[in-house]
Amino acid sequence: MGRERVRYPAFAICFTLLLLVPLVVVVATAVNPGAYIKFPPDGFTLDWFTTAVETPRFQSSLLLSLRIAVIASVVGLALTIPTAVAITRGRRRLRPWVSTATVLPLITPDMLLALGLLIMLVQIGMASSLIGLVLGHVLIGMPLAVQVLVAALSGVDENVEQAAQTLGASRATAFVRVTLPAILPAIGSAAVFLFIFSFDNVSISLFLSAPGQTTLPITMFQYLEYNSDPTVSAMSTILIVLSLVVAVVLSRLGGLSHLAGSPTRRSS
């Protein structure tokens, strides 16, 4: 009767497509020949892609954004991996404190975080340093990264680690050789989260980036202030394509399912 074959989630497919409509519209506006953002486009041109690639602001902002996002991911991982270990394997009394601490930035609106951070950074004289910006980005990306890592770590049987110890590995070695490889996809996902949150952030960057050092989202935002041509659409299209490639590569590596934890299957 075929009911046991793969069944397609009709609602999920429809809704996902609906969510993608804005992106499709953005891509479509990027090819409008006129110097304005219009949908549906009046014609077809790739000129705006040339403009986007050749605009020096976009180039330098893109590089800056990538650099900051990479640094934020690395710093974030260095901070979140030990935290996740402490939450899953640490002392009971400490756990709720650490996990509460990691959730706080998540439930506070970005703009308020930015406001507080700016007041503080001004006080300590670091208002326009890259360090403040990077740490700000880590702050907002960190909660989800911790959650992904905690989910993965609690899925790793501690007995396996202990088995490694009975086989002569030190606790640290056992963790690095046995547990870490097991949560590698989750580490990848956490890094992606940190990267995305940094790369796409507007609020924190708006308040914390140093003058003359605007990240790509801010530059695109500012570009729209003075120009109504589709260059920003073209730049966004390039980003969409790039992220699709990254996402496909990630899913090939098996990291994507860890974005949401991997499903367990019925054993029968």
């Binding site: 002392r91 650490v98 930035p105 506070t108």
Partner: protein, 288 residues
């Protein structure tokens, strides 16, 4: 089957190890969140409106609560947050349940779900607005409607945008919980005479609650704190607190006023979240 964890596994990391690993995050959060939060609180009760005016005064709060402009903005903010969270939660639950039960295309769907997160919010709002305009034109041309739907520049538009922006987080949070759902629970309920709706309501929903609560808190905070979405989707027609904060700081440099707005907003957020968390936890006392 879930087996209660024995207390022995508390010893995996010693006291020193626990502090060594968990400590840096505590320091980080205190330094990057706690202290700034204190500064905002302190600034909000300063007697002047400058950054380091010092003194103590509740003037800024009095201003806030005695002006209908701000109270209306607060109400708007709250209504927007509640409605968009409720809609996102229902849609997220249906979505997560469906891809849990029907795994076809699951990886692709999750991938496409994350994709919009990578695109600048301003640009996505443009896309959404132009999409809405096209929809309006389609409906008008097809003669299905005489007037535009009025989705833009209204509460409806803000809520639609918020739902679309927050949906991926909600769906992923719920899916994370539901993907661990033991299918035999659904089957057990069926063998005990539960029709589809009862299975969803009595078995699946309670299991989805932790993810639902997490996703809702996230959505609620984001919806109450967003500046760009009401600013663009509201077309300046819907005042919200974040817009007031932005204007206070950016144009008039009224630090204390902005801080007071922020404190009020966070206080309301915290109370709402704690309240719903307590209710949520009570109803799911059984889940891990």
């Amino acid at each position: 089957m879930t087996r209660a964890r024995s207390p022995e596994d508390d010893t995996t990391l010693g006291r020193r190890g626990s502090w060594l690993l968990g400590g840096p995050m505590l320091v980080f959060v205190v330094a990057m969140f706690g202290y700034p939060a204190y500064l905002v609180l302190r600034t909000s009760v300063a007697s002047g409106d400058g950054l380091e005016s010092g003194g103590f005064s509740l003037t800024h709060y009095v201003t806030f609560f005695s002006d209908s402009l701000y109270l209306d903005a607060l109400l708007n903010t709250f209504v927007i947050a509640v409605v968009s969270t409720a809609i996102t939660a229902v849609l997220g639950l249906l979505y997560a349940y469906e891809i849990t039960r029907r795994p076809g295309l699951r990886t692709v769907l999750l991938l496409l779900l994350v994709l919009p997160l990578l695109v600048n919010g301003v640009v996505r709002i443009y896309g959404l607005q132009l999409g809405m305009i096209s929809l309006d034109r389609l409906l008008l041309d097809a003669g299905l409607r005489d007037t535009p739907l009025g989705l833009q520049y209204s509460f409806a538009g803000i809520i639609i945008a918020l739902v679309m922006f927050q949906f991926p987080f909600m769906a992923l949070a719920i899916y994370a919980g539901l993907s661990r759902l033991d299918v035999s629970l659904v089957e057990a309920a069926q063998t005990l005479g539960a029709p589809r709706r009862a299975v969803l309501l009595r078995v699946v929903l309670p299991l989805a609650v932790p993810g639902l609560v997490a996703g809702s808190v996230l959505t609620f905070a984001a919806a109450a704190g967003t500046f760009i979405i009401p600013a663009m989707m509201g077309g300046g027609r819907v005042n919200t607190i974040p817009q007031m904060i932005y204007t206070s700081v950016s144009q008039t440099s009224q630090w204390a006023t902005a801080s007071a707005f922020a404190v009020v907003l966070v206080a309301i957020l915290a109370v709402s979240i704690l309240y719903s968390l307590r209710r949520g936890l009570r109803s799911t006392a059984g889940t891990r």
